[in-house]
Symmetry: D2
Subunit: 145 residues, 4 copies
């Protein structure tokens, strides 16, 4: 299956004044906030909202890794579209992959986050619950991701 | 030269209330803010404060890449010590490497950021100015970084 | 004219994970970020986007005052609707008034911000430009504000 | 007792790059973050750290009100000294008052926050515990506050 065959979850935002630096460009760390907001909306759309997972008390989803590559500046007031896919679905962790498209539709940045299903009682990584795994699978990207 | 032979720049902080999540643990994206604050203090200590570089108008230092690995949760109120070194010093970019040590002195996370010397007039990467290069060199980590 | 006769500008958001504290409630300072984002969208809708004002170089709009009253906690994942009106339109400053309505449509918080039209060349407050004044007037709240 | 007779708790910081806006000035909402960080350090110094209060499970300290007045811009890289005092000590709430002094030692901004002792079991405001009251009293400002 190729990347283009998988759906990506979309999230939109406008770079707010407060997130721009002295040069009028997005301060790099805010990209990770945006990625997490897209991930929150994605989980809610899948029927697994973070508030419900935390309230459920069975497992948490701490991040083990995060990275971003910045290709072009993103500017104050610029509309950004995030496209999120699942880069890898492991035994007790999954990797999300994000594209950040600028106002002209071209790629401005990419990011990845790795989330671990960590058992609250077990105090160690546990298998991704079947319901969550099944919900993530349709968004699994192909080899090109 | 080994990593232990190079000095690392140190920066300390206490995880504030607002940076902890519902589970009382540091929200991952704030680690990048802390890394950047350590970098700002480092540049000031080297005699190249960011405000001066920006005001100078010759070049900016946009980030091309950022990544972090999280080994243990960092908690609300926990004192954190950041140790910063230069992982790589290229022609027109440099890579910084950060250790985050928790309240017990053990490693909680690591991070890296890549900074490009981008000419304001040239509108492309330019050579790291000799003065900045000379200031960064003593902090260059060895092969173990 | 009564308050109910004036239109209010609406802005919606969902409380993201990162803005909730250990108790799962919105950290108070983020309310001011939300107010400012509503203000940015309002100014854009009026045809006076902040990026354009700053780029124009004639005046800036620094805040002279900000305040908020918190009536009920706002929670992680809760949809919030902001309703913005102009509380006062002075010679060289204007006051914005914000209602924050929770997921049940009831009032959760209120806020106010005072913005000064500060001349870049004059280095002091200057009269609100006629075009901006005219754009703000329809949103002027009555005595009940 | 006059204001000058009461000690104020001091907290220092340097305005980081990320908190400055396009004009190189502090974005207003960050002032509330700084106030809260000073409050956290103050509570820890009094022997009532927030993490302990929350973990204790008896009461929380939600904010009922926050306000700030901005007199002068605070700039990227500027050292700021916060001086905190107790403006009012009520039955089930207390008001903190903050001075923000710029790099030249002159006043740049003031702020106030009102904190309610909210019983976790009672689900309503409860009397400030005697130990906390006693710890706050020495910092009570006089009529000039």
């Amino acid at each position: 299956m190729t990347s283009s065959a998988s759906p990506r979850f979309r999230h939109q935002l406008v770079i707010p004044f407060q997130d721009a630096d002295v040069a009028g460009m997005l301060f790099f760390a805010h990209l990770f906030r945006y990625a997490h907001e897209a991930y929150e909306r994605f989980m809610s759309a899948l029927g697994h909202p973070l508030a419900g997972i935390i309230g459920g008390g069975a497992y948490l989803l701490p991040l083990a890794h995060a990275e971003a590559d910045y290709r072009r500046p993103m500017r104050l007031g610029e509309p950004i579209r995030i496209e999120l896919g699942v880069g890898h679905l492991g035994e007790s962790s999954f990797r999300l992959h994000y594209l950040f498209l600028g106002g002209d539709g071209q790629l401005s940045a990419t990011a990845e986050t790795v989330h671990v299903t960590f058992g609250v009682v077990e105090k160690r990584p546990v298998a991704i619950p079947p319901g969550l795994r099944k919900a993530l699978e349709p968004y699994l990207l192909g080899d090109m991701a």
